[in-house]
């Protein structure tokens, strides 16, 4: 990762985390607000593979942990797992040939946000936060997924810009890797 990519990726991460805490938390449906931060490692992993996926996931999660009342490090752990998963999907060619389907990004955004939120709850309980079991996941996960689908495209474009991938460049690198 060269320096300019690092700076741009850092800028995107800080921007999304600040927006998550300062702005997105106002948008509530049934008492649930979006969890858009999980889109960062997913987009980075899908575009650039596991290395950048886990690094951006760790950075975004850790930054979020600084501003959250939840266990410190849990966001970073979820970010690493999501970045790894997305990176593996990309590198193993699981998404080969469907890169140009317009609804794929929103779908992956919805799935990734839902998975991130569910893992946050489950791992939180595993690490001793019994009160996480009281969260109404039947409402929380669909709402988070819905918002994830809506903002997946702009965040993916932002991450692609940070990684220096234009639309055409992204398609070329996808076909080179035989992936998303």
């Amino acid at each position: 990762m060269n320096r300019s990519i690092g700076v741009r990726l850092g800028l995107i991460i800080v921007t999304v985390v600040v927006l998550q805490v300062g702005a997105v938390s106002h948008l509530r449906v049934a008492g649930v607000h979006p969890e858009v931060v999980w889109l960062l490692p997913i987009a980075a992993g899908l575009i650039a593979g596991t290395d950048l996926g886990i690094i951006s996931g760790f950075s975004a999660g850790l930054l979020l942990d600084c501003l959250m009342p939840t266990p410190f490090g849990l966001g970073a752990l979820i970010g690493v797992i999501l970045g790894l998963g997305a990176g593996l999907l990309s590198e193993r060619g699981v998404l080969t040939g469907i890169g140009d389907i317009w609804w794929l990004t929103p779908l992956l955004g919805a799935g990734g946000c839902a998975m991130g939120t569910a893992m946050f709850g489950v791992l939180g309980i595993v690490f001793g936060q019994e009160d996480f079991a009281q969260v109404d996941y039947l409402i929380t996960i669909p709402v988070v997924a819905l918002f994830g689908a809506v903002v997946a495209v702009p965040i993916t474009l932002g991450v692609a810009w940070a990684l220096g991938e234009s639309g055409a460049g992204r398609r070329r690198s996808r076909s080179r890797r035989g992936a998303w």
Binding site: D51, P69, D131
Partner: protein, 276 residues
């Protein structure tokens, strides 16, 4: 080449996983200066930016909330109009005298705290996580606020200070799933432990013996027993339902928080630290 790259990836992954899990473990001990330090630095740097973004975007959020909850906003509006009408009628029928004004001010200044000093703070962020009920306030250690201090306002106990930096503090609300408060019922003095249940669910009371004489509408207060986390006499919640389920060893009691947690623009932090 590919093997070296994949080895480097695995090493990076292992290190980041290890760091994450170590941080969680340290934070779980509750007194880790490492995690508190990192969190404090990050929060100090980012909080001013977050606050600015929060102030700028709050109207958009309110608009969104108004659109989503249009029905309930309309109903609340109607209730408020009715209240205003009653107040206007009362105001024209008799003027408030000084004694009434003094009573009002006494209420506003939370007479139940007697002589305990307080610091008034403005709420800057509300419920930033789907997994915890918290607010962020704009006062911290520079004003004498410390972890564990009670926070009151809007009619009763709001919560307690969870973490603090020089200029801001995080307050865990009474409705949070981790909240446990020693309480006593008004009048009878029946003791119980009040528990938050996360989300919009009511508070619940544990350890009240079956068929105890409790009535809907009565208020539970902080009991202030030895080692308590709160000073005595702060209203916590009003009973909305109380039953004894068949074969249960305790009553099932639900409470509505005394504090209106939907109206927390300003709160008072009580400069009182729990005894160790």
């Amino acid at each position: 080449m590919a093997t070296r790259r994949s080895r480097r990836s695995i090493t990076t992954l292992a290190i980041l996983l290890l760091v994450s899990i170590t941080l969680i473990a340290l934070d779980g001990q509750g007194s880790s200066s490492v995690t508190a330090g990192i969190r404090g630095v990050g929060s100090t740097i980012l909080s001013p930016v977050v606050s600015v973004v929060n102030v700028v975007t709050r109207p958009v959020g309110n608009l969104f909330a108004g659109a989503i909850n249009y029905g309930s906003v309309n109903a609340e509006n109607a209730r408020l109009r009715a209240t205003i009408g009653r107040l206007e009628q009362a105001a024209t029928s008799k003027s408030y005298n000084r004694q009434q004004l003094a009573q009002l001010l006494a209420l506003q200044h939370l007479s139940y705290l007697s002589s305990l000093p307080t610091v008034t703070a403005q709420t800057t962020l509300i419920d930033v996580s789907n997994f915890a009920a918290t607010i962020e306030i704009n006062k911290g250690t520079h004003e004498g606020i410390a972890v564990g201090m009670p926070v009151v306002g809007a009619g009763g106990l709001v919560g307690k200070v969870e973490s603090t930096t020089g200029t801001s503090s995080t307050v865990r609300l009474v409705t949070d799933g981790r909240t446990r408060i020693g309480a006593a019922l008004e009048g009878s003095g029946t003791l119980g432990i009040i528990r938050g249940q996360a989300g919009d669910r009511p508070l619940s009371v544990d350890y009240v013996a079956p068929n105890t004489d409790v009535s809907v509408g009565s208020t539970f207060f902080t009991n202030g027993l030895q080692g308590a986390q709160f000073p005595p006499g702060i209203p916590i919640g009003r009973i909305t339902s109380a039953t004894t389920p068949l074969n249960s060893t305790q009553m099932a009691i639900s409470l509505k928080p005394s504090a209106d947690l939907g109206r927390l623009s300003f709160v008072d932090v009580v400069l009182w630290e729990p005894a160790l």
